[in-house]
Amino acid sequence: MKMNGARIMLECLKKEGVDTVFGYPGGTVINLYDALFDFKDIQHILPRHEQAGTHAADGYARATGRVGVAIATSGPGATNTVTGIATAYMDSIPMVIITGQVPTALIGNDAFQEVDIIGITRPCTKHSFLIRDVKDIAITMKKAFYLARSGRPGPVLVDFPKDIQIAQGEFHYPETVEIRGYKPNLSGHPRQVEKAVTMILESRRPVIYVGGGAVLGGAAEPLTQLARKLSIPVTTTLMGLGSFPESDGLSLGMLGMHGAYCANMAMTGSDLIIAIGARFDDRVTGKLSTFAPHAKIIHIDVDPTSIKKNVRVDLPIVGDVKDVLMKMIKQTDKSKDKLAGYISALAPWHSDIDGWKEKHPIAYKQSSTIIKPQFVIQKLRELSDDDAIISTDVGQHQMWTAQFFQFNKPRTLLTSGGLGTMGYGLPAAMGAQAAFPNRQVITICGDGGVQMNIQEMATLVQNKLPVKIVILNNNFLGMVRQWQELFFDKRYSSTCMELPIDYRKLADAYGAKGFLATKPGEVESVIKQGFKENGPVIMEFKIAREEKVLPMVPAGASLNEMVLNA
């Protein structure tokens, strides 16, 4: 059956199992939107800004593990997606972004709303395609989805000119796809796995250091099994939170710049670091020359470029983290007789760690008059559902959430780790809520970031997406202010958000409910009222204005040189 290119595109999405897309119409996608008008198999959500639409597709992908899909028109529509694409790229989130493009005959002519979006996004996409023939739509989409979700996932952009949307063609979706330059190595080498287990059994101060790759690779289960089997403490990066239950005694919490004292001390004192789907980011390692000075490093990652990029590695294992961990469990079972001896040999290490945990736990000073942000986070954990999905923006509230919420399940924290994108939290929560209408979705924001995509309140209300928006309001761009306090003599240059905003009125204007807490005694009742509402809600908490995120490893310092009280 003949159909136009626009319709073929939608049939491709359907074949890929796409049930929801986030998109914004415009001149060069008007044909695509016309086809969408009576295409009932796909739910379309209209954000109020293409950046938010892209973040929503990202949030959808992080919460579900499926490929998120965003649509934008050419020119400014396409450029508005760039921050969303870069955010997804830095955190390896599977996404397909379809951008309209001017008709092929006009490409390069500086036509109205023309921009070379493939060129602009080249450094922040896993790959990109320009469709130049209606015959190529199906194979291109097959490749795009395959690339987005396989290996180290990432965003793939498909530029879709208007004349190709109009052209008539046949629809045949290929069953399989072959890309000769792309063969991700998924299966961990058995010899390397064997060596890894031998190294582990010889270690006396081992630490498992887990990154976002464990979440993306669906490796939470085997990771937890392996750690418990060998009794090895586990620390995670911001992106790795949820891959190992923080309620477990082996958990050290998050490491790095605002990581737990015990986690950073353990890394510094360790004799063997088992890195799983992590990339030794500068926020994690601190000063590289003094990072983990006594440790051998085993590095497991599906992306060979992550290995030996920042630190030396003694044993690299390239492969899907889940596959490698399952092989390691099997290999460990072969050495069952050595296990009891090994675990008892770790006793001094565990007692060191317990000492660090006790000496400087993640803590804050409670107040009876002023709301402490950490207290709000703790109350949110206490009063929210076990499987609640949390998204954050970037800054102090993000770190407090990471430190105090306690994540026990993978894909329950959506946060921009690599790019550090303000304005991410609200639209990401929107995407997650669209995927899981019946789960509790909470976005925790500061008063800075929330205003970067506040317009999405309209999308939430219109689509009945009951996201609970928590604003920790200190009238500051808090993290920058904290740096200014500590390193710039309290010269608060442009970090004070001087205009107070009435968020209850704002919520009201959008047809949502707003609540405000100004005293510690009101925190619980505001959260309870907010959670009780069936629709989207803003819960604003006026918090201690100059509260700091601690501990803190100053930029460029060693991991064990933490500022604990300042």
């Binding site: 493939i118 060129g119 080249r122 790959h127 990109s128 890309i179 330059g181 060979p304 470029t305 990029k309």
Partner: protein, 163 residues
Amino acid sequence: MQHTISVIVENDFGVLSRVATLFSGRGFNIDSLSVAPTNEEGLSRMTIVTRGDEQVLEQINKQLNKLIDVLKVLDFSDGSAVERELALIKVAAEDDSRTEVLRIVDIFRAKIIDVTPKSYTVEATGNPMKIDAILELLRPLGLKEVVRTGSVAIGRGAKGWNG
């Protein structure tokens, strides 16, 4: 240290800019770059001369391999390849210097491919060091214009890049 890398790529739209973006985005150097189709349909071959220590070279290798359009990366740093470059050199040639240019051209087994009363255009082929050497000798006579292709390299022995 200088390294010569051959990259087999899909002869696709935009592949050159993907490679170039990778080098500039990650702060890797390109000393020379040449690219042209191969004997196999749909494939092109790039020869890139770059600089860096072992760790940088390993990253360059891995990052190139990560590009979807890249089929194979061959690292010829170990001298396992024959390397050649072609240069077109326009040199002033008047009176006495006309014979001197001819002598140098002869010694380097180069060719004169264009002649005017005031100049010769020389075609020289060889490994990049040989090209550097002929340029050094011609420089005092008055170089007017130099065009170099950059290195191309092919592995020694009977086997092709894919066996």
